[in-house]
Amino acid sequence: MLEAPVTLAASAVRSQERTGTLSEERQSQLDALVTRARLAAAAFYQFSQEQVDRCVRAMVIKGLEAAQQLAALAVAETKLGVVEDKAIKNMVATEFVYYSIKDERTVGIIREYPERNLKEIAEPIGVVLGVTPITNPTSTVLFKSLLMAKTRNAVIFCPHPLAQRCSNEAARIMYAAALEAGAPEGFICWVDDIKLADTQYLMRHPDVALIDATGGPGVVRAAYSSGKPALGVGAGNVPCYIHRSADLHMAVVDILTSKTFDNGTICASEQTVLVDRPVYDRVIQIFADLGAHVCSPDEVAILERSVVDPESGTMRPTAVGQHATAIARAVGIDVPPSTKLLLAPLTGVGRQHPLSCEKLFPVLGILPIDGAEEAINAAMDVLYFGGVGHTASIFCEEQAVIDRYGEALNAGRIIVNCPSSVGALGGVYNDLTPTFSFGCGTGGGNSTIENVSVRHYLNIKHMAKRTPVPQWFRAPNQIYYNLHALENVRALDTRNVLIVTSQDLDHLGFVEQVRTHLPPHVICHVFNEVEIEPTYAVIARGVEAIQHHRPDHLIAVGGGSVLDAAKAMRLFYAHPDLDFHSLETTFLDPRKRVIQYPKPARDQLTLVAIPTTSGTGSEVTPFAVITDSERGRKVPLYDHSLTPDVAIIDPELVRGLPPGVTADTGLDALTHALEALVSIFASEYTDALAMQAARVVFEELPRACRDGRDLDARAKMHNAACMAGLAFANAFVGVNHALAHSLGSMFKVAHGRANAVLLPYVVRYNAAVPSKFMPFPNVKAYVAHRKYAQFAASMNWGGTDVPSQVEALIAKIFELLHACTLPTSIAALGISRADFEAAIPEIIRAAYDDISIRSNPRMPLITELEAVLREAYDGPRGEKE
């Protein structure tokens, strides 16, 4: 006969004081038990899955062999329940549980999600304190022993004192089987001659890692109040609704099966049946036909007084697990010997109706009910009368009613068309996880609402590999460029166009220039109301124009304002109900933004963008800026659906640009290129465009500024602006734009010029080692300084290393500003130092609101931006404007 690894001497138990304190001898014995379990847990940790599974299988076989014997022991010791039913419970606790866990991985990597680059790794918990109940004293031990072995934990069982012989025998059988199969010595321990104080001491023992308490509310409360992680499961009070659509015979048979199973000791068994009034009498009759005794009102009153404690409103322990006839005899109700169940018609549920409480014996409340809504409310009353989070059941053939019932009730298990007790155990009538521990969720004071199983006895670690996000390169369908590109307007498949522009450009003949290129059959309308910084009111008028003329193409001719307006007009024409203000909702990652733009319709208007400046790149970008005049702020719109379909880059249209505008817009293009180059979203695709665009700006902008009629320089600059646009359309910009937006807005500085005065200082800032890096999975190294240097080296600007090459780039930017007669400092814009200093906090606040800042290569800090702004205000080192 195998001995328990550590058992406690009876002498020590005798010395245990009745007050609940423990003798030193008893404490040291319990300590030794825990130490033994701790060493076993450590040894178990090293087991492979195969070793574990071998132990579990051996335990299951021995448990099945002992099912009858343990059932008889349990009934003999506890005087509760039915041997045959307890044997079935023992078999469910072994065979069914084994079937559900045998293929589950519990060692090492237990699950992989390759598409998410995630792996789950099992880590045992250590020493678990298994507190087991009197109602299921052997099945619970069998169940927990299996799960402990499967998860490589050690367990110390604290059985209910009135069921300790059978519970400990179950533990001994499982332990012996496991040991024979190679399990570590001491991984299952149990406390002999247990008293409440032993359990309390162990609950607080520092080497116990988890308390797994199955039992009544007192045990569960003690477990949770121990301050240790606890799996506690507790009382139920199961409502059962029989809807008029139900199969009534099946419902009654199932309820009888469930409620009489082991004399009602399973806490998931039905406690109060709520029956639709039209079928109530029929249900009562079927119950009576099948062996239930339907109590008279007097008998109900007797039961209320005798099986429920009037003080606490809870069942009396003396009735638990007793047969219906035994209970009837004990309380003086005369029933036939074949009686299975005492059916107590109630007049309501809740505290005022004692028999609607949990009754772990074959006494069942029954109540007629008027329809599903009333049934759901009454079921809630039952659950909130001691069974929140546990189990509810329903017999019904109407799915909508079943769904409403399930949604409304706070129960971890909604058992449908099954006996609720066996149904909740799982695996017999349904596919619930087989268990002998029902989680009751927070409603029941539990940490889980699930059927407790393997996962609850593991620390499941997650190994997450870096997952770079997919990137994109999007561009308009067609880009026509170089001199006479406007000829391509002739090839547009259109019958009716609306030209969008400004009054100035219309008067300057740009509209006429486009119109002359359209075939004669094309009807051409003009909307020329766009102003600089277009407002939503202008967009609304533009939408009305589209609605009125019904064009198939929009041709936007103008600078950034006109092109942006046309993008917005197309959007709001296609989606008139779109909330303008919602579109400004900020976001961190365009793929995960909260506000999604509507998908463009297949037959949406074709947008042709013809820029008349060389800088914004708006003809190829998914951005637009609209002014909210009511709130006095600019609203940035961003979505790829905004990108024009066709871009026409004809230098003829920029020939007349004044030098100042040429310079401002040219520097805007350069800023787009250099910011896209170092953006965290930069890619090989955007780098190529950004580098080439920057090269062309450095080489051609001074020429274009000096002589606007130099069409070669104009063409190259026009293309450079478009290329820079393509780069930043896909890589975005950075802190330079964020600061320029707020500086320009506050001091009415043209956008390109604001960018220009900041650019050399921002390059120097981004080229330094960041104090904070910008988190982004696609960025594997900080490369901004190297990319600047690489560009400078490609331009042969000298420098022998990265710092000197970066300085060469900065010097060349200053040179370019001088060549284009642009200011090199904020002071040179005519802003007083006092005004500037006063504005710094607001400039920075607005910059942080700007989406551009989030793609900057380094994460800017407020103090750093202040420094950049002040440096930009003072101008080049040693040089004052």
Binding site: A42, A43, D207
Partner: protein
Amino acid sequence: MDPSRNGNGPHLRFESASDLFLQQLRAALQAPATAVVTIDMTEVAQVDTAALAVLAAAGEAAAAAGKPLYLEGARPSVYKAIQIAKLGAGFRRVHHG
């Protein structure tokens, strides 16, 4: 015992739980010349409950003698088991750096 390893104390090879090992360890700890004792775990693939109990006793003996006990060559699964068993406090790990 191989006192030459680590230069300053005996070196005991641990293979499995045995009284002999504990006797050797206690003798080594009692020798006045011993400054430290090193337990070589290189050959140990897995430690069972009994082995862990011996190691626990070794830790206690070293603590009682006031001499450090070094673990050398434990593979991670064995070392983790020692940590789970909470024997770590009794040992120092030889670090070959």
